[in-house]
Structures are given as structure tokens and as C-alpha cells.
Amino acid sequence: MLFALAVRLSAGDYPGPAGVAVLAGLAAIVGGLLLRRGAVVTIGLGLLGVGYGSALIGKGLDPAAGLFAAGLVAVAELAFWAIEPGAAVPLRRAATGLRVLVVAAVVLGAAIAGTLLIAVVADPIRGDAGLGIAGVIAVLAIFAVAAVLVRSLRDGLR
């Protein structure tokens, strides 16, 4: 990817806002891994999402959004696994294997859920209803996320 970037830069093809956001996100993720700071990794993941969102400007519904979501959550799972406290402790093979299965299940689930959601939204008949349902789910999810945040702040953050 760096080589491709170098080729494009040498040809005078400079990245747009989306490309800059993605590059910044990747750099932040690498920095977060080196510094072992979850907040920096989160910022990097957020920037990747911003880059994707910037690339959607002026375009229609992206049917591959589910795959991108699966990729993003895969990067997130692996990055946070790498910086977990005690990551250097030698784990038995069974523990590592189980964790790999969990990550794979999360990624697969994200791909399926994302694809289904896009399929619901893309339906010309049920699309508006789908958007409405998605909006309700989003509001409920926002409240749930806020509750989680409050609870995590109360219990102590690591």
C-alpha cells in the first residue's frame, strides 16, 4: 500500500480528503500499537471510518458497506488484542485458538449484519421503512451506548 501510495504521489496524483483520512487513520493505528494506547487506536479507527464516509460523498448507497464494516471491526479486534495488558504473557495454544475463533465470529457476524442492513435499506419499497427502523435502532443503540459509557466510567477505565 505504501508502494502504491508512493507511485501515485510520484505521478502527481495526490490523495483527496478521504485518502488523507485513511492514511492518518492507519498512522494512528500503528502509533497506538507502538505506544500501546487504546485511545490512539480508537482515533485511528475513527479516521478510517471518516475516510470511508468522505469517499461516499456524492455517491449512492454502497452495497459493500457490510464488508467494510467487517474489515474495520477485524482491524479493531486485532489491534486491541495486541495491546491488551499481559499480551506478552505466554498463552496456552487453546486460549489463543479460542480467541481467534471469537474474532472470526465477530467479523463474520459484522459482515452478515451489515449486508442484511444494507439490503433492507436498499429495498425501494421497504427502503424508507427500513431507514426508519434503522433510525429507531440507532436511537436505542445510542442510549445503550451512553449507558455503557456511564457504567464503565463508574467502574473505572483501563
Binding site: D62, A65, A70, A94, L98
Partner: protein
């Protein structure tokens, strides 16, 4: 176990909220799709993020070992609920060395018992508390960590390795009790001492018939009786020199254990007096039990920094019995110990000093002033030694790494010479 959120939980919550807000604000379902997996993972983590029921027990293989021995800790883990990952970190006490892993990561199925073993080596004597460990259990998604710290509840006593001594310093006077030493007094015994004229009350078996025949009057044998002696091992705990893992106090403790064992095997009485920031003593006694008491008391020896002026008046008289040999193990770093020894000698006690040389533990600077200071310091130490020798107290220097027996022989040789001079 205390539950805490990991950085992953905060990150996922932030990304989920950001994606949902952005999706609503810009009207793009794709951004909601991006946020959906993070929200779902959070929801699953909250539902399944209960504290694991984890039991941990620690067993120590041996609680009494010698210097340099290993102690194995067996750690048993049992969980009634599935635990995705459990990490244990065993705290290693100061002066202990881990042999192998002391951090472990395992996964536990419900009802599964896992046995882990950690080994610690103790190169130095002392009393150590072991078993303190941190336990962290993670849920399957890594959103929550459940932590607990187990206190150190096991005591390990590491005894000094004693050097077997064949020759030791002999006290000048013996005690009234029967022992293995040939006393200088005359009485009944095995070793022939002298002849004298018969006195009423002497037993007939003591009559020396050959001498009687030559003299024409009854002559009896006199022998040297076998008596025990008493030795007080005086340990200087005012100050010590140390460099890395070795120091003068370690040498002193090992030598004290070796001397106590040697004297007690000869059926002499041995007492212990630790004189320094704190004063502790054991009155002279016989037997194996006394050896155990002395060694146990030595384990608690440490240099207690104190500026209180102490002299021998704080030492009870029964801790320094009359006619006992006072064998002092000291680096001669503190003036209070020097003065105390001079006072003990001034009271007529039989004193010998084993100087544990601090020079091997001293790092001298290369500049001229440091070198000059070092030479002056060594000269002052030589003056102290000279002062002791003038008082008839033998002083022998024992350097780190050298065997103890030649040093004891040097002390004995000085005492023989001093006795000859007095005679």
C-alpha cells in the same frame, strides 16, 4: 474480584456512538452499518460479562530450605464458569530469583482444575513471604477485566549454609560443667597434670605407686578435668558494607551459624548477642535446640540504622557470662562497636575479633582526593586494630571469598603468643 472496563470497551463505545451520530446527521446508512458491529459487540459483552467464579489456592513445597535451594509453588486454579483467559503474575520477593516462568496465561472450562508451578531460588538467607500474586480474568470479548490480588501468606525460612569447621578458637577459661575441653585447672580427669602429696580425702586409685615408692610417702596424680566452655558470638548490626548481592552482614551471619554449630558439636555452651540499632541476645546453652534457636535468631538479623549511642550497659550480665569467650564478628565500621569491645575487654572478658573486611564492597573513585580519602580510612582502621592488639584482643581480617578456618587459626595463634608474652 473487581471489575474494570478495558480500553477496548471505551473504544468500541466511542466508535459506535460516532458511527450512529454520523449516520443520523448525514443521512447515510453506511455509517450506521459501520457502527453496528461495535454496538453489537458491546451488547454481547454486557450480557455475558459476569464475574467468573474463580478459586485459587497456593501450596509451597518446602518452607525451610538452605541458601541456594529452590522452592516450588503449586498454584491451583478452579473455575465454576468458563473463563476465556486468566493471567497470573507471581510477585518475586527481593533477594529471590525466579527459575522459569512466574507469569502464566490459561483458559478454563467450567469445572476444570489447572495446576501451575512456579519455582523461586533463594540465594540469600532470611525469612521471605511468598505467594503474592495478581490475577486478571478477561471475558471472551476482552471488554472487561476482573482483577484480584492474593496476599503473600506463606513464609519460607532460608537458612545460611554453614561451613564445617575443624578448628575453632579455644576460650582461655572453662566453665564448671563437664565437657570436651581439657581445663587448665587441676582435678580429676584423664589428662595427666601433676603430682602432689597425698591429702586426707584423696581416693586410693589416684595414688601413683611408682612416685610413692621413690619418694617414700604417698603421692597422688593430678589431672586436668574435662570441662565445657562458653562462647558468646557477638554480631555487629550497627552498620554493614554491601555491594550487589553480597555484603559483610551476610558473611557475618554465615560465619556465626558455622561457629555456633562447631562449638555446640563440641558440647560447649554458645550464646548469641546481636548488638546494633537493636539489641537481641540468647543466653549460652547447650545442644541442638540451642543451634536451632541461634539460626532462627540469625534469620531476623538486619542492620537497623540508628544514631542512638549504645554501650555495653544495655547488655544484661547473663548474656555475657564470666569466663566466656566473646567472639565478635564485625566490619569495624561503627565507632560504637569499637568502644563496646574495648569496654568488654576492660571488664576482664576474653575477647577475640573476626574483622569482616569491608574493602571488597567499597568502590573507590579514581580521582586523587578519593584515593587519599580511602588511604586515610584504611589507616584509621589499622589504628583500631593496633589498639585492640595492645589490649590483648586478637584481630584477624577475613576477606570475602576466603575460607574461615585460616582466619580462626590466625586468631588462635595470636592468643597463644599473647599468653606466652603474659607468662
Amino acid at each position: 474480584m473487581t471489575r474494570a472496563a478495558t480500553a477496548k470497551l471505551a473504544g468500541y463505545a466511542s466508535l459506535g456512538a460516532l458511527g450512529l451520530f454520523a449516520g443520523i446527521a448525514f443521512g447515510r446508512a453506511e455509517l450506521v452499518v459501520l457502527a453496528t458491529p461495535f454496538v453489537l459487540v458491546l451488547a454481547m459483552g454486557l450480557v455475558a460479562g459476569g464475574a467468573p467464579e474463580l478459586d485459587v489456592d497456593v501450596r509451597v513445597g518446602r518452607s525451610r530450605v538452605l541458601e541456594g535451594d529452590d522452592v516450588a509453588l503449586d498454584i491451583g486454579l478452579l473455575s465454576a464458569s468458563p473463563v476465556a483467559r486468566v493471567e497470573l503474575g507471581l510477585a518475586v520477593p527481593r533477594d529471590a530469583v525466579p527459575e522459569g516462568d512466574t507469569s502464566f496465561g490459561v483458559t478454563l472450562a467450567p469445572g476444570e482444575r489447572r495446576e501451575l508451578t512456579a519455582t523461586l531460588r533463594f540465594p540469600r538467607w532470611g525469612v521471605f513471604r511468598i505467594g503474592r500474586m495478581g490475577i486478571a480474568a478477561f471475558d471472551r470479548l476482552g471488554l472487561f477485566v476482573f482483577e484480584r490480588e492474593l496476599p503473600a501468606t506463606h513464609l519460607v525460612r532460608v537458612y545460611p549454609r554453614e561451613e564445617r569447621l575443624r578448628e575453632i578458637v579455644r576460650p582461655r577459661e572453662t566453665q564448671a560443667y563437664v565437657g570436651n575441653l581439657v581445663a587448665r585447672q587441676k582435678g580429676e580427669g584423664i589428662e595427666f597434670a601433676d603430682l602432689r602429696l597425698y591429702q586426707p580425702g584423696d581416693r586410693v586409685r589416684r595414688v601413683n605407686w611408682k612416685a610413692t615408692a621413690r619418694r617414700g610417702s604417698l603421692v597422688v596424680n593430678e589431672e586436668h578435668p574435662e570441662r565445657s566452655s562458653a562462647t558468646v558470638l557477638l554480631l555487629d548490626s550497627f552498620a554493614a558494607a554491601r555491594l550487589g548481592a553480597a555484603g559483610t552482614l551476610d558473611q557475618a551471619v554465615r560465619a556465626t551459624a558455622a561457629l555456633a554449630g562447631a562449638y555446640l558439636r563440641r558440647r560447649d555452651q554458645v550464646g548469641l548477642l546481636s548488638f546494633g540499632g537493636s539489641v537481641n541476645w540468647l543466653e549460652p546453652a547447650l545442644g541442638t535446640v540451642q543451634l536451632y534457636r541461634i539460626v532462627e535468631a540469625l534469620l531476623d538479623t538486619e542492620v537497623v540504622l540508628s544514631y542512638i549511642w549504645r554501650d555495653i550497659r544495655v547488655i544484661p550480665t547473663h548474656a555475657l557470662p564470666p569466663k566466656a569467650l566473646v567472639l565478635c564478628l564485625t566490619p569495624l565500621l561503627d565507632e560504637r562497636m569499637v568502644n563496646a569491645l574495648v569496654d568488654v575487654r576492660g571488664r576482664g572478658a576474653d575477647v577475640a575479633v573476626l574483622e569482616i573486611a569491608p574493602e571488597p564492597f567499597v568502590r573507590v573513585g579514581r580521582d586523587e582526593q578519593a584515593q587519599l580519602t580511602y588511604r586515610i580510612w584504611k589507616l584509621r582502621r589499622a589504628v583500631v586494630r593496633s589498639r585492640f592488639r595492645r589490649l590483648g584482643v586478637s584481630v584477624a581480617e577475613w576477606r570475602y571469598g576466603d575460607p574461615l578456618e585460616p582466619v580462626l587459626e590466625e586468631v588462635s595463634a595470636f592468643r597463644r603468643y599473647a599468653r606466652a608474652m603474659r607468662a
